[in-house]
Amino acid sequence: MRFFTRFQKKRLKKLLYFTLSILLIANFTSGCESNKSDLKIGLVGGLTGRHSDLGVYGRNGVILAMEEINKKGGIDGQKIILIPKDDKQNPEIAKKVVRELIAEDVSAIIGHFTSTMTMATVNMINEAKILMISPTTSTNKLTGIDDYFIRMMSPNKAAIKSLADYTINKAGFRKIVVIYDVLNKSFSKEWYNTFKKHESVIPDLSIIPVPYTSSPEIRFSELATKVLEHKPDSVLIVSSALDAAMLCQQLKISDSSLHLFSTMWAMTDDFLKHSGPAGEGIIFANWFNKEYQSEKSLKFRKGYLERFGRPPNFASHFAYEAAQVLFTSLSNTQNSAELKNTILKTREFKGLQGNIVIDEFGDPLRKVFLMTVIKGQYVLLD
């Protein structure tokens, strides 16, 4: 016989623990927030330097998607944490930062934004069995491979074909200089090679290569001279926005009538700013239609503008879609190895410009748009 029975002692202990818990919670919860159940997503892209427009705008697209989903409570109550890494457009740095992300046990990686960087790290993510979704990688070299790489942009093939059809067959240009940046050769060389193949079909067609390696020291006036030495009737510029803008300026100074073409790589606001009137009339092949008027697309553009104070570019657009595809799939499984299968199984996702249909190799099938610049704005080519 004791003063407190075992049951009463239990009750007393419960009361004590309850009181202590309340006090502890009241005391300590104000200072920090538990992040035990956060979902870590890696982002890798060129965030600094002259070619950072895709990376920065793409990162912002992912941030917008992340903030939207976190505002709704995250995925099954888990908040998304974005870990951004700058690959500085350098393959070695790209490998290093991807290794860091793998070590941080991220659920998936969004990136890279250029094909050469993706080619540098794709084997690493396959070995680690971590899904990589690239918003803007479009090299054909990653087409038809069952790996852990999925992308939002279609492979180059269709875009190149579309632009080649226009320049060679429709516009009838026969002497085309392809000036391309070797720094992103996985992407740029495909353009040249594909155009070059047309020579065998069209006898009087001449595709002249002018490769260069982008750097702060590059002299665009000299490059322009080199191009113009071939007296081309048109020039295809396969480079980033700033390089393309400067080439346009230099080429137009010498030959204002020259017809210019470029790729989606350069199709950003930086191009418009830096090219000035020299960029007017240039034609791009892209899967992104800036004028697309769907509710989702408008909402995205409005949201992006409000959040970042500038309109989104195609990299923001595809990065936003990449994030949404990833988050949708993460709500089904958080197993990194299973994510890929989940996405391939789902196959069709709601995108900003209609549904995104992804094939069994993780490549989407998108429509190619030909865009041009009129009065400093991108418009759809009739």
Binding site: E33, K273, P277, R307
Partner: protein, 872 residues
């Protein structure tokens, strides 16, 4: 959810805790609140001041590039102090000397670069008109700060300030590192820092340069949104998973934001410390309060805990488990003591109650009388086992039924119901009554009901208690008694008649034989007289049977042949048993003799066979009766100490009837036990058999199987051949003599007849019809007689008394006693008083002659005794 029980202990403990904790909590919280408020206000003010100070400094700094560019405009455009060729050099000196710009350009009216420093031919005539600052500068005609963008030359985030000229504008590319240099000067605590962001939330200056180089946008922060909305102040926010306080100030010139960020935990470290201190103070105080509460209350409440436990034990009648209550305060000790006294009292009372209950229950359950309780609605609420036995039901079967449901007819049910209502209304004194009820099995039972009222302490009528006695057997006994009395009366009557009738028959037989002796045996008259003799003998047998029937016949054990009795009995049975029953008999006629009463042996057989026939009367069967000699060993008679091993006659009666159930087998010899329907049997048959068998020191065994049949075995000790034999003279020649015989009989006809017979045989006969006269004669001449023949039943003096007196006078004289019927004398008694022979009337002359001669001869042979019987 934690449930709080409102017990004294809980309440007192809680009160203790509340009394101790609440004041500390209130004071602590109030102090904390005040402190937090003051400190927070102080920190906010301090950080905001710092932000504003930095904002002013940046604003001041930003006026330098504008002023420099304006100076360039003045020199180059307005005053044209520098020639066109030297402008580039002039601009270079600006860039180099002022250390504000990475690059300075002069654009013409089309936006083309006309002059540039540091000089780079690549950019000559490059058109800049698509940069937003170009249109904005032209439009505002004032200096204009651009958004950040990636510099073509450096590849780094850059912003420009442009100042309009008369034709075109001068554009300075600001080095953002300068802003960082300014903001880095700020020192706030250990980890505080300053951020400068543009109007879109893009980071222009940050201690971590990566945030600038990667063009991080911090518009997602509440602080930034407030700042962009024009609200300067200090706000709480989350930044990189940390709670921070941010003070924001707007740079007037550019509307950029200067944000002072400090970790909340650092800024409010004193408050947090006080919070922790308060928390532990409360915890320790609460713990101390609980400890004191427990210790203080222990002494007070511990006895109560014991008391509660003990009360529970007492409630559960677990008196021994009640623990002794520890000593506490006087009042509580007194309470404890009183409780112990109470517990003992309750314990004693309960024990008595239990004892009483046990006794009561035992009585109720073992009482041979049925007990029933019913309520005012007539619903039976209690019955005991005896009641259930009477009602032929299982325990509790009748609980809940109404008492009138037991009545055998509908009318009696209604009658019972009305009777109950009347009793409840008038409540008369209870009187027993007799009735019939129908048992659960449908049998009608005669019962006696002794009842009484059941009342509560306030004498309010609750119901009735009734004692039920099954008087069915009693009624049968009464009936049997009546029958027995009737039989007794018949027997008495028969006995009386038999005496006279036997005397008459003796006379008839005697005289007829006398007459017959005078005739030729083949003559018609002789034959007629023979018919008379046969008729008289039949009459004699009739009397004998009447006496047997009325149980008045003398049960005399004698050597007898069982086989003969059995054969005779079976003849009688054949007529009374249904023909569906086949009788098989296997009787060993040479089985010898037993010493028994033939009448009773006859009855044994009759009863056993009748019983057997009853078990087969529905479906017929075989009744087998056997008699044989068997030898019984010690083992065979183990259970019958009266018996000795040896040769026995075994009578076996076997039937192929229903058999006897094992559970009643040991009760079949009980008086009045019967399995037959009421009125079909008295239950005396086997009881009588058992009595007779025991009386003869014999043994009876039964072997029965249900559905197969039953065997009764009766064993009588076989007697040896030298057992006194019945003397029988089969010769037609009557023995004669010349001795002197005194014949005494109150029937003058008989004295005459006997005298005639004896005289004819040569005897000298004197007759007397009065026993006193006869005695007187004998006394006067005792030696004149050789034999006395006397009747038993005579007025004034019986034959027995006469014999005694005669023998007292002359012991050697032989006396023959006879009687027509007497309950006072039999052969044994006659022998005991000294008579030499005894015979029953009527007798034949031949018998008389033989007995007389025998007695006389035996007397002459020196008084050797021979028992002579007239039976057979």
């Amino acid at each position: 959810m934690l449930k709080f029980r409102k017990s004294l202990k809980n309440v007192l403990t809680l009160n203790f805790i509340l009394v101790a904790v609440i004041p500390i909590l209130v004071i602590g919280l109030a102090s904390l609140s005040l402190l937090t408020q003051n400190l927070s206000s102080e920190i906010r003010t301090k950080n905001l001041s710092l932000a504003k100070s930095l904002s002013s400094e940046v604003d001041m700094f930003l006026s330098h590039p504008v002023a420099t560019l304006k100076m360039v405009v003045d020199i180059v455009d307005k005053d044209q102090l520098v020639s066109q060729k030297s402008i580039n050099n002039f601009l270079e000196s600006i860039v180099r000397n002022h250390n504000l710009f990475d690059m300075v350009q002069i654009l013409d009216s089309h936006g083309n670069i006309k002059f540039i420093a540091p000089f780079n031919g690549e950019f000559s005539n490059i058109n800049m008109s698509h940069f937003p600052f170009y249109d904005a500068t032209l439009k505002t005609k004032s200096h204009f700060w651009s958004q950040t963008f990636i510099s073509m030359q450096t590849g780094l985030p850059t912003l420009t300030v442009s100042v309009p000229m008369s034709q075109g504008m001068v554009v300075g590319y600001l080095n953002l590192n300068i802003l960082t240099t300014i903001s880095d000067k700020v020192e706030i605590g250990q980890n505080g820092y300053a951020i400068i962001a543009d109007q879109e939330g893009n980071v222009l200056s940050h201690p971590i340069y990566k945030n600038v180089s990667e063009q991080r946008n911090i518009k997602n922060l509440k602080i930034v949104r407030e700042g962009l909305a024009g609200n300067e102040g200090t706000y709480l926010d989350m930044l990189d998973h940390n709670q921070v306080i941010g003070s924001i100030s707007i740079i007037p010139q550019t509307k950029w934001l200067v944000i002072i960020i400090q970790k909340y935990s650092e800024a409010f470290a004193p408050v947090i410390k006080i919070k922790i201190m308060l928390f532990w103070s409360v915890v320790l105080t609460a713990a101390l309060a609980i400890f004191i509460a427990i210790k203080s209350l222990q002494k007070t409440l511990l006895p109560f805990s014991y008391l509660i436990t003990s009360v529970k034990h007492v409630t559960n009648s677990n008196y021994d488990a009640a623990e002794s209550i520890p000593l506490s305060y006087d009042e509580i000790n007194e309470l404890s003591h009183s409780f112990e006294i109470m517990t003992n009292a309750v314990k004693d009372r309960q024990q008595s109650l239990q004892e009483s209950e046990r006794l009561y229950r035992s009585l109720i359950e073992t009482l041979p009388y049925g007990i029933q309780e019913n309520n005012l609605e007539g619903i039976i609420t209690f019955t005991n086992p005896a009641y259930e036995k009477i009602m032929e039901c299982h325990s509790g079967d009748l609980i809940g039924e109404r008492i009138w449901d037991l009545k055998k007819s509908e009318s009696s049910k209604i009658e019972q119901q009305k009777y109950l209502e009347k009793i409840i209304e008038y409540q008369p004194p209870p009187t027993p009554y007799f009735t019939q009820i129908k048992t659960k099995k449908g049998n009608i039972v005669d019962i006696q009901i002794d009842w009484n009222y059941k009342r509560d302490n306030d004498q309010i009528l609750l119901g009735f208690i009734s004692i039920i006695t099954d008087i069915t057997d009693q009624k049968i006994l009464e009936e049997n008694l009546r029958q027995a009395q009737k039989m007794e009366a018949i027997g008495t009557l028969t006995g009386g008649i038999a005496h006279d009738f036997n005397n008459i028959l003796t006379a008839i037989l005697g005289y007829t034989e006398l007459v017959q002796c005078d005739l030729k045996p083949d003559s018609e008259q002789w034959k007629d007289l023979d018919s008379v003799i046969r008729a008289a003998n039949r009459a004699k047998d009739l009397v004998k049977h009447m006496l047997t029937f009325s149980r008045k016949s003398e049960h005399q054990k004698m050597p007898m042949k069982v086989s003969l009795v059995m054969i005779e009995a079976l003849k009688l049975l054949r007529a009374s048993i249904p023909t569906t029953i086949e009788i098989i008999q296997d009787i060993d006629e040479n089985s010898g003799y037993i010493f028994a009463d033939p009448t009773q042996i006859h009855q044994v057989l009759m009863n056993l066979c009748t019983n057997a026939s009853h078990s087969m009367e529905n479906h017929g069967g075989i009744l087998e009766v056997t008699l044989k000699v068997v030898k019984l060993s010690e083992n065979d008679i183990l259970l019958n100490p009266d018996l000795k091993p040896g040769q026995y006659l075994e009578i076996c009666v076997r039937d192929s009837g229903t058999g006897i159930s094992p559970d009643v087998l040991n009760r079949i010899f009980d008086p009045f036990f019967t399995t037959k329907d009421t009125g079909r049997g008295t239950g005396m048959g086997l009881s009588v058999v058992h009595g007779i068998v025991k009386n003869h020191r014999a043994m009876i065994k039964v072997d029965s199987k249900l559905g197969v049949g039953t065997r009764f075995y009766v064993y009588f000790k076989k007697i040896q051949k030298n057992t006194p034999q019945i003397i029988k003279n089969t010769s037609n020649h009557l023995p004669s003599g010349n001795e002197r015989i005194l014949v005494v009989d109150d029937e003058i006809t008989l004295t005459k007849m006997i005298k005639t017979v004896l005289v004819r045989l040569g005897y000298n006969v004197t007759t007397k019809t009065n026993s006193l006269e006869a005695l007187s004669l004998f006394y006067s001449q005792p030696d004149n007689f050789d034999l006395i023949i006397t009747d038993q039943t005579m007025p004034q003096m019986t034959g027995r008394e006469l014999t005694i007196k005669i023998l007292a006078c002359r012991p050697d004289i032989p006396v023959i006693l006879s009687t027509g019927f007497s309950s006072t004398i039999n052969q044994e008694k006659a022998m005991n008083i000294g008579a030499k022979a005894f015979f029953m009337k009527p007798f034949e002359n031949k018998e008389l002659a033989i007995i007389v001669r025998k007695v006389l001869d035996d007397t002459n042979k020196n008084h050797s005794k021979t028992i002579i019987s007239s039976s057979e």
